[in-house]
Amino acid sequence: MGVEGIGARVVRKEDKRFITGKGRYVDDIKLTGMTHAHFIRSPHAHAKVKKIDSSAALKMPGVVAVLTGQQLVDDKVGNLICGWAITSKDGSPMKMGAWPAMAPETVRFVGQAVAVVIADSKNLARDAAEAVVVDYEELPAVADMQSAIKAGAPQLHPEAPGNQVYDWVIGDDGAVSAAFSKAANVVKLDVTNNRLAPNAMEPRAAIADYDAAEEHFTLYTTSQNPHVARLVLSAFYNIAPEHKLRVIAPDVGGGFGSKIFIYPEEMVALWASKKVGRPVKWTGDRTEAFLTDAHGRDHVTHAEMAFDANNKIIGLKVKTYANFGAYMSLFSSSVPTYLYATLLSGQYNIPAIHAEVIGVYTNTTPVDAYRGAGRPEASYLIERLMETAARQLKVDPAALRRTNFITQFPHQTPVIMAYDTGDFNASLDAAMKAIDYAGFANRKAQAKSQGKLRGIGVSCYIEACGIAPSKAVGSLGAGVGLWESAEVRVNPVGTIEILTGSHSHGQGHETTFCQLVADRLGVPISQVSIVHGDTDKVQFGMGTYGSRSAAVGLTAILKAMEKMESKAKKIAAHALEASEADIVIENGEFKVTGTDKAIAFPMVALAAYTAHNLPDGMEPGLKESAFYDPTNFTFPAGTYICELEVDPGTGKTSFVNFVAADDFGRLINPMIVEGQVHGGLVQGIGQALLEHAIYDANGQPVTASFMDYAMPRADDVPSFNLSHTTTLCPGNPLGIKGCGEAGAIGASAAVINAITDAIGKNNLEMPATPDRVWRTINAA
């Protein structure tokens, strides 16, 4: 692998600028003549906007304009879209209400923008915003799904009667009914998957710069996928055609899904920049992030699992209500359907599955993909069910899982996914060994003698990553293809620029992608740079989410590298007067195999550009590109086991040990993989113990600051004990599965299974706050 090749623990190239404060984020960019936007947001969860009086604000110092939702309508700026069409079980398309970037008539969640002040400074804009008088007529609001679906509930959108977006089904209802009719045991479980606020470290921001002479826009934005942003802004929002819109996503401080989507603020900034004739900057603050960044999760589910007399699962039925908030965000519709229900087979051989998902509007912040996106909800449900079943059937939880593991691959589940490879016993074995599962009973007894309740919890997760084969997702309603593109540019002196449609916002692509090049050519990674995040530099790309950048994005780079190497070999063979088939690449040289004849890679590059002595008919230059469309999803899987103690006096949970045995296929940089797993586990633990975005009955957010919303901190989580088992993914040449979301997908069930084991009661919702655990312990 070489010291910087695939598998090496290379220190991250990008960290020098991040750690020394030299990163360049959207808010760091200052343009000449730049104005600042401050949005006026609804304090009500549901209200009519009767009148907006901006006359006083317009007279205030430094105010350039006050723009309203009605002006957006007048200028025919399009509404926000949802890019994945879901069809209900009755054949009808999903029912969507319009989402204008600023509300001209009706606001439907606290924080929805109704107007924007553009001024010479951020503070002046904020001053003037206080002088804008908005006359609201409050309407009854509904914040929780159970209330929203009841007859007589306040209605959000006339297009969606009963606040229902869709009623979607997957699987074979008849087969499931047959299985349940012959079941020896049925296990039932109700679970709530709590709503989370994503909280990337960098709040969202945008700068729009309109060049009237060229009729051209430049948008700097905190995006995980700038090309998709340009596509959507051009094709649906009537902002500008693609060749007149450049989108730049520079350094971005974390996304976790929340920066995939197009939000009202960047649309308004673009439109406003043209209206006022100056660049417009908006930087959200933390409160705006809590109110307007798309939230995650928020499911309420009833599930039943049928077992035969040998404890084999024979059927699963699931009914889930999914909260979408007040509007359908860009990919929201796909999250509780094709990213959730297709993973309900877990790691288990389940012959019959049926799931029904009802999407619901409420007067809350829109909900969309958040690290894991549907797969954490599926994994949590299945792993809570397995634990519940083990307790009910009185068998060891690990043994019950083993009894039901899929062991033959490929494996077609009843819910679309065809698992390509895996070894679920191997990861379970590794995790059980790492935590000394056999010795737990003794440790539990010891803890009991000290007044502590000790528990152990297993979670065997599987996810579908490497998103995604374009044809497959197209057939399921996706509005885009999910391939990736790459370009390899070799400069005349042999340095290399890799242009990629993947976007790095913390993942370390500037290091890992270089490692592939170093691995293939034997050049140091200092000779390679990664170019991403700019639609003028990179022709197209689908961005970073769904643990796809290595499995899909890096494979695209590999394909482009192979093309480049093929041409370079021809040049080298010509120069060395050898056969192309005899050329091998070693340590930065092109060699004639079995001889000492060689030419250094920079000389090959120079030859390509001088073009003095190229093979007949060959074009000069050394630059190749590739589009790579995966043939299947990838299926990272693993086992997490958590051991913890509960203090019966306070209900407080303390970790004793947390082991993770993951199968991610081939690892490019194990250090970066470990960082990804750590971050994911912390988010999973955060969901299990701490985090919950809560609204009161009137739709007022209760957790809109870090004083109330409990983000996990370093001392809330244990040191993690990580290991890897490996089955190479057969779907891509590098054998990569993806590692970005696993921790967030698998961790929460391990924690709740362990707490419920400790306290001896099975019903416990997330987050398992000390109060909630204490009340569960003391419940009759």
Partner: protein, 266 residues
């Protein structure tokens, strides 16, 4: 933040004088409450008078049976003070639990008690230890100082200069942290004075702010041990309730934290 005028006072007298000249001045100590509130535009003082750099207001001193902490001393300095750790280790421990490192490097004892947040740590220590609040005008017993939520006996423009704590025979502090804010979800300070008086104060529990817990004091007077508190009944009525803790839960925590504080006190 709205426009404001910042003053860095170099003495208590100068600070008091600056306050008198301004229409709507606020004193700034560690700024852990005032600055976030100003950033959110929920406070708009015309003038901010910084007390944190007044040399006479910083330091921890032990003398005889009294530990004196000057008002602008940070939580970090109290937590790491040899004098505090020797005289009243429970007090240094309390300071080490306030907020997070960033808060402890900035926040001050004077700022904390002047704000009198119902879930702040220090008020419990002052009340349980029968401390005296020294101002530029007078001395106020802790029992007279705290007047309910965010309210104190301080008069307009009055500046806390120090807090003096009688060194107790025994003292202990136990805190259940609020998972988000790191204030006290409920915390209890117990003390046995050198004259044998038992004083117990709980913070984060009552809707009226820091409170003495008479029932626990009585139980401990009869028998200074954690188990003495087992049979005490703490009613949930009048206790705080929020998403992180119901009133019943806080009532339980008052007992459990008191037991752990007694165990820690020895």
């Amino acid at each position: 933040m709205y426009q404001t005028t910042y003053h860095r006072a170099s003495s208590v007298d100068e600070a008091a004088s600056l306050f008198g000249k301004s229409s709507e001045a606020k004193f700034l100590a560690g700024g852990q409450t005032l600055l976030p509130v100003m950033k959110q535009r929920l406070a708009s003082p015309s003038d901010v008078i910084d007390l944190a750099k007044i040399k006479d207001m910083i330091g921890v001193e032990a003398s005889g049976d009294t530990l004196t902490i000057k008002a602008a001393t940070t939580h970090y300095d109290v937590a790491t003070s040899d004098a505090a750790k020797k005289a009243i280790p429970a007090l240094a421990y309390l300071a080490s639990l306030i907020g997070d490192p960033a808060v402890r490097y900035r926040g001050t004892i004077g700022g904390s008690i002047a704000n009198n947040d119902p879930a702040a740590d220090y008020p419990a220590a002052l009340l349980a230890l029968d401390a005296t609040v020294k101002t530029n005008k007078r001395s106020i017993a802790a029992g007279d100082f705290f007047k309910g939520l965010f309210t104190t006996a301080l008069e307009d423009g009055e500046i806390i200069t120090a807090v003096s704590f009688p060194v107790p025979a025994k003292a202990g502090y136990a805190k259940m942290r609020h998972p988000a804010s790191r204030f006290a979800l409920t915390a209890v300070f117990v003390a046995q004075t050198k004259s044998g008086e038992i004083r117990v104060a709980a913070t984060g529990a009552s809707q009226s702010g820091v409170m003495r817990v008479g029932a626990i004091e009585a139980a401990l007077k009869a028998n200074w041990s954690p188990s003495a508190i087992d049979s005490v009944n703490i009613p949930a009525s009048g206790l705080l309730a929020d998403i992180h803790g119901t009133a019943d839960y806080r009532a339980n925590l008052v007992k459990v934290m008191a037991q752990r504080a007694v165990a820690a006190a020895g």
